[in-house]
């Protein structure tokens, strides 16, 4: 099976350790996205899998074979670079054929392979063009084509869409997803864009400061973030986090108290961080919920919904509300209603998620 397995992977530059022992298993045909802020070690991890960075400690296996000291070309992985790295002096066909020629594939076979891949990617009319004569999206496709023609065991993507404009990015994202569904090649994808992570991934790996914060499916991470970092990273806008203290049936946040499901009463008096997703609140009470008074700063209309920027005590909060085609009714909002079953709790010191059961 063409899975990728990382065990205790460490990367250090001299005394500076940037990746602190990562354990990750990517199953065959799985699409795993490494996501995190810049400098979190996600690209370094990807480059270690590619063989472009040496592994300081730990074991990397691809397809069951230890790869630590194997040259990139012998790992049977292909990579799509952030800046495409297309050879400017070669046309599209030659760019895609480069790796095949080096591997001495027969000419006729190269031609059929390239024609097939160009067909899949819609590049057939552009095979004679140089990269400079292509649009950003076309270049991106050529970069993917160059990876695909080799039929590698693993695809590696290093922020491949970050140089594209927003519209093209959405389009290419869907294309990558379709391509993966069609080819079924194990893929590791690095991005700092949580929307890309959510939409593309079978599983997301959230990284921060050279460590893995949480691994899970997009919905697992969204619904049950393991800590405040993940909660604050995924979701758009991310989860609101407020300092509070547990009471018999909920949590006291400033002078307000909200009800929370579960046996929070057993831990009354404990300092916590209360997490509320912007889209989970309602403007009127629906089911078991409690009102959180807010003072509204700003309403940002997005069309079908609007973002309410508000404060509660010292906390800056953002909530989402439906517009129903009009935002006038939102300007007078002075409280939101928080459903008691959707409130998340995190330890005030460690930031780890708390689960007191229901």
């Amino acid at each position: 099976m063409s899975g990728v397995n990382l065990e205790g992977i460490v990367k250090a530059y001299g005394a500076l350790q940037v990746v602190h022992g990562i354990d990750l298993t990517v199953a065959e045909k799985e699409f795993v996205v490494l996501v995190g802020p810049s400098g979190c070690g996600k690209s370094t991890t990807l480059r270690m899998i590619a063989g472009l960075e040496e592994i300081t400690a730990g074991d990397l296996t691809i397809d069951g074979r230890r790869m630590n000291r194997i040259a990139p070309k012998d790992r049977d992985v292909a990579m799509v670079f952030q800046n495409y790295a297309l050879y400017p002096h070669l046309n599209v066909a030659d760019n895609m054929a480069f790796g095949l020629r080096i591997r001495r594939m027969p000419k006729a076979e190269i031609k059929t392979t390239i024609d097939d891949v160009a067909e899949i990617l819609g590049l057939t009319p552009y095979l004679d063009r140089r990269p400079a004569d292509l649009s950003g999206g076309q270049r991106q496709r050529v970069a993917m084509g160059r990876a695909i023609v080799r039929h590698p065991k693993v695809f590696l993507f290093d922020e491949p869409l970050s140089n594209l404009d927003a519209k093209l990015r959405t389009q290419m994202r869907a294309e990558i997803k379709r391509l993966h569904n069609r080819l079924g090649v194990t893929s590791v994808y690095v991005t700092h864009d949580q929307v890309e992570a959510m939409t593309l991934a079978d599983r997301i790996v959230v990284m921060n400061d050279g460590r893995i914060e949480q691994i899970g499916t997009p919905m697992e991470l969204f619904n049950d973030p393991a800590n405040t970092f993940v909660a604050g990273f995924l979701g758009s806008p991310p989860m609101n986090q407020m300092k509070g203290t547990l009471t018999a049936s909920g949590a006291k946040i400033g002078d307000a108290e909200i009800k929370i499901d579960g046996r929070v009463g057993d831990h009354a008096g404990r300092d916590v961080i209360v997490g509320i997703r912007p889209e989970h609140v309602t403007l009127s009470a629906e089911g078991p919920s409690s009102a959180l008074p807010i003072s509204l700063d700003l309403v940002e209309p997005l069309g079908s919904e609007a973002l309410l920027h508000a404060t509660h005590g010292d906390d800056s909060l953002v909530f989402k509300a439906a517009t129903n085609g009009d935002i006038d009714h939102l300007s007078g909002v002075d409280a939101v209603h928080v459903p008691s079953h959707l409130v998340k709790l995190f330890d005030a010191e460690t930031g780890h998620a708390l689960n007191f059961g229901v």
């Binding site: 070309k73 952030q82 790295a85 050879y87 480069f98 160059r146």
Partner: protein, 293 residues
């Protein structure tokens, strides 16, 4: 056509001064060529009397007749081609891989090697030690010695290294992922991307080899190994020292001056032929080098 109305008085004055200076510079560099060509086609008498200014006086091909019939001229002409082509190829064979290696961040001891190379630009052993070294290596009076001894040029290495460094590392990484080894990365990716820089150092090498005079004079003794520039010097000294020859030559219509000029014209022609082909790269290369350093 420039629209002068859009320029202030100061700008116009500046443009005029610049044009005049460029004009003077053009004349200063072009005139020696014209003068030498005119002398080479003049009669020996007119040349000796200093009558030639811009056009040939008493036009004649005698000087050319004299050198073109001299077998030694053709031997040294051939030698110059051998030194130029062999030397340039040898230089490129050292400079390109050397510059590439020095440009790679993964090269261990890179700073040391770079300093080591640059050091030779400021300090060198000097004439006598170099001569002794060549003697001890049995490379005196050797054509291969001339080709080998000046193959590595620190300035060219640094110029090309800077160019290689400016090429994004991801090209190398992409080629590596595609299965290329070091040599293939250099040959198939970095060299095609560095055409302007390589053309520039090629031209530098060609010109310096073609004009190479001093070391050839010091290191070569055999007549059948000397290049054109040394032959030119021999001819000049022979002609001017030889009184008997002076009588013959004047009668025949050429002189030391016209023969010298004819050899110079013959030696310039190949460079003039090659230059236009490399010029477009050359300009870019100069710009590049200028910006990088």
């Amino acid at each position: 056509m420039m629209n002068w109305n859009l320029y202030s008085r100061g700008d116009r004055f500046f443009a005029i001064v610049v044009s005049v200076l460029i004009g003077m510079f053009t004349v200063a560099t072009l005139y020696p060529f014209i003068y030498i060509a005119a002398v080479s086609f003049s009669s020996g008498f007119a040349a000796q009397a200093g009558k030639v200014v811009l056009t040939p006086i008493d036009a004649t091909l005698e000087a050319y007749g004299y050198i073109l019939w001299d077998p030694q001229f053709w031997v040294s002409y051939r030698n110059t081609f051998i030194y130029t082509i062999g030397g340039t190829l040898m230089s490129l064979a050292f400079i390109i891989p050397g510059a590439y290696a020095l440009s790679r961040p993964q090269l261990k001891g890179r700073r040391f090697f770079n300093l080591f190379i640059a050091f030779t630009m400021w300090f060198n052993a000097g004439l006598i030690p170099f001569f002794l070294n060549m003697r001890d290596l049995n490379l005196l009076d050797s054509m291969f010695g001339i080709i080998l001894a000046f193959a590595v040029n620190a300035f060219n290495i640094i110029l090309l290294r800077n160019f290689f460094e400016a090429i994004p590392q991801s090209f190398e990484e992409a080629a590596r992922m595609d299965g290329a080894n070091d040599f293939q990365v250099l040959w198939k990716v970095y060299m095609p991307l560095s055409k302007p820089a390589i053309a520039t150092i090629t031209l530098f090498c060609i010109v310096s080899r073609w004009n190479g005079f001093f070391w050839a004079m010091v290191l070569l003794q055999s007549e059948d190994k000397i290049p054109l520039q040394v032959f030119l010097r021999h001819t000049i000294s022979n002609l001017s020292d030889d009184d008997e020859f002076a009588i013959v030559q004047t009668a025949a219509g050429f002189s030391a001056e016209t023969v010298t000029a004819a050899i110079i014209v013959c030696s310039i022609i190949p460079v003039l032929i090659v230059y236009p082909f490399i010029q477009k790269y050359f300009e870019k290369g100069i710009l590049l080098g200028g910006v990088k350093e």
